[in-house]
Subunit: 520 residues, 2 copies
Amino acid sequence: MQTLLGQLKHWNKLTPSKPFVYDGELTLTYAEAYNRALRFAGGLRKLGLEKGVRVAPIMFNGFRWYDLYYGLSAGGFVNVPLNFRLAGPELVYQINDSEAQAIIMDPEFYDVIAQIKEQIPGVRHFIYTGEEKPFEGSISYDTLLEAEPYENSNTNENDLFGIYYTGGTTGQAKGVILTHKSIISNAYHLATAMRFGSEQVGLHSAPMFHLADGAVNFAITLVGGAHVLVKAFDPVAVLKAVEHYKPTISLWVPTMINMLVNEPGISEYDLSSLQYIIYGASPISPSLLRKAVKEFACEFTQVYGMTEAGPILTILFPEEHRQGLSDENKQYLLKAAGRQIIGVDVRVVDENGTDVQPGEVGEIIACGDNIMQGYLNKPQETAEALIDGWYWTKDLATIDEDKYIFMVDRAKDMIITGGENVYSVEVEDALVGHPDVLEAAVIGVPHKEWGESVLAVVAVRPGATVDEAELRDFCKQRIAGYKVPKAVEVVEALPKSGAGKILKKDLREKYWEGIDRRVG
Amino acid sequence: MQTLLGQLKHWNKLTPSKPFVYDGELTLTYAEAYNRALRFAGGLRKLGLEKGVRVAPIMFNGFRWYDLYYGLSAGGFVNVPLNFRLAGPELVYQINDSEAQAIIMDPEFYDVIAQIKEQIPGVRHFIYTGEEKPFEGSISYDTLLEAEPYENSNTNENDLFGIYYTGGTTGQAKGVILTHKSIISNAYHLATAMRFGSEQVGLHSAPMFHLADGAVNFAITLVGGAHVLVKAFDPVAVLKAVEHYKPTISLWVPTMINMLVNEPGISEYDLSSLQYIIYGASPISPSLLRKAVKEFACEFTQVYGMTEAGPILTILFPEEHRQGLSDENKQYLLKAAGRQIIGVDVRVVDENGTDVQPGEVGEIIACGDNIMQGYLNKPQETAEALIDGWYWTKDLATIDEDKYIFMVDRAKDMIITGGENVYSVEVEDALVGHPDVLEAAVIGVPHKEWGESVLAVVAVRPGATVDEAELRDFCKQRIAGYKVPKAVEVVEALPKSGAGKILKKDLREKYWEGIDRRVG
């Protein structure tokens, strides 16, 4: 299998003058993007970077991501995309854990990088994308791109494409090791299942540092399509981009779809170019789906997966959405995460690895070329996650006779707030770091706009008291703002099972009674 | 990557009751075909066959090929499909070279197998598909299928899928080593490029022992489509099958298309189900294409490749055919073999491996996951064919600025007669085995129906004479009937270059003057 660069190379050969990326006023053809990618690789090479070196971008959505995707691939370098909403200590951890030697930063992130500079001694090169030099020793991105084109022909599908950090049950983010084979396989699976063709134009307003957008992105490039970029999700910016650039596909999470359909004036935009809205992270409620179908008049596709799966495991097709809306007996399909996508084997099993009966709860496990190689520097977590070629997701689900999968409990006790994954354990770790907190449980509670919001339930040490505002401030020093609890509930003691395990189900109950845990 | 079985398994899981194979009165669902495949594997296992053992079918098209494809994959066995038109000595060579331990034979081939039985001592099991036992010790196919289902879970993409024999410049057929990865990659390339979906129904009337049909076959199974089988190509049988089973896709060579459009009464058949005719082996003439478009009212796609490429390298899309027919400035597209298909890098280079300029003749080389691992037991030929990850096809071509490839001289001095490849050297080797023949050159000459027919030009030993009928009889003992020269021309001496190389170009000239070397 080729590296990811092979896809761009193919279309650079066949349709060099076709537009590939639209970003504001800028349009890059396939030939221009290919040339940029090779020059980007050449620039890093000139800095002395060798194959296998990790490069960490901290950037908004924009055309430079294509230099990154394909240029890093050209040079055999490894992409370590940073979530720009992370707090300093989280960035420090990921940069050091991945041993990144270069950082590429948008102006909005000069400050945070300058602040942590001393704590990331392995980083030898700070590359800035703006006009002005942010600090001594940093290098201009544009200057970097003046290098001669370079391609390391000694790369193949088994080389690392990227290390994507994801939260985990241990509280510490884990670097998911993904080869080119994982990423390209996933692109083939999605493009084949969706029958994508070169007329497709993807709108990217979900963050490009996440693999969810990457999945759609790479599948569209595979078939020679084009891309429209929106710096960051904003309903008006997105609607304007749809009207102006006429994309055919967009990936959003249900909370984003919810914001769009509630945007006053949505009906004034011409959204007729959209053929497919692909959504993930959570199922969609029938009422939101109906509203969205009315406003967008297009097909809906759900994908379910996770970074470790490169990322797609299952798909719920447009036809299944149509059936769910039109046929009362099929309405249950809208609650499903879909069925295994071409190329991936997905099962729901008990703790012995035996397939559960329809309706019984089990763990989702999966096998396919898209699955990660493991977690960086975490042999034990890797050994627990990858067993005999199967990835154990820790997601709990049922599966019906037709092999539709219905989520029962999300992996890793995860809260999805506005499309961002918050892993409870990370927040709990931050909370119990406070001297007055005895123990803490973090859950998601219903939020009309964001799907869920983060709630902390804490028990304090004997004789101590805690102030909610102070506790939230305390967290903000340690974790990203979107992970900080929106509310704190103080209790005498947390409910526990006989074995001493905190019963989050009991905590969630009163908030979720009568509410479908879906957006809309 | 999964093995080929993974594709059947996927659809057995998602659409078990969907029809998968139509063969005469018989219909097999996905579940039935999957079950048969595993029982077929179980039957071979019960015979004591282990993973890696080669099994050689000599069969007409029929539903049992699906037991073979997927059952061999299930057991980790290796498919060695025999061309049933081969002469005894050719079969003996391929069976012994591949070390096949089992033969699966249709009734029409009991005699030829019985005749060579003593010369293939490695074959331990003779499995017959008919009602009656052909000879002592042979095993009933139906009995074999009564075994328990078996799957060897210790197989993966890098295991051998098959050894497919193809003629070569050395005169001896070469066993092309193909892994599951080659075959599955090719299926993804074709299915993605053609945007195949589960509604596709493939008609298989070209021989299933060739990989050309296999390519379309596996791509359709990948996306969950179905198959209609015609025992062997016959225009009336094919037209009836199209009307009755309503396939959407068929693979034919231009000579077959030519026979179909010239079939009296073609217009009485309902052929409206066909969406795509895929053809290979040679370009199609505009006049035949026009006739075919009129009769079939469907889209045309050309694929170019060879067994060594698993098999597809380039594709000429329906749109390009439409342009070629409707736009005088684009008519040249109909002479092209198309452009590189997704997932494959195809170049035309000089002897140093440098890309030639547009219009210059060079050799076609290709790189992709579909390419073979090499030739069985032929390290030198393998080393010559596979260099630094590139397959050197020996096909000569030009490439234009848009990357369309135009064949100049077919690989390995090959004659294509009625869709069968005849390698000149094999025939020449047979001819010079005759005591009176001094030297021989075999070329293809125009044939209205079959595209080309085999012509031998021979020089006899001083003082000797040869009789054409006797010489043809002599050949018939040694090579397949379709390879035997249809005519023999005796000359004083063969035209030669300064370096002593026979100038076939000169021999061909008078036959081809003013004729476009295409069918129709």
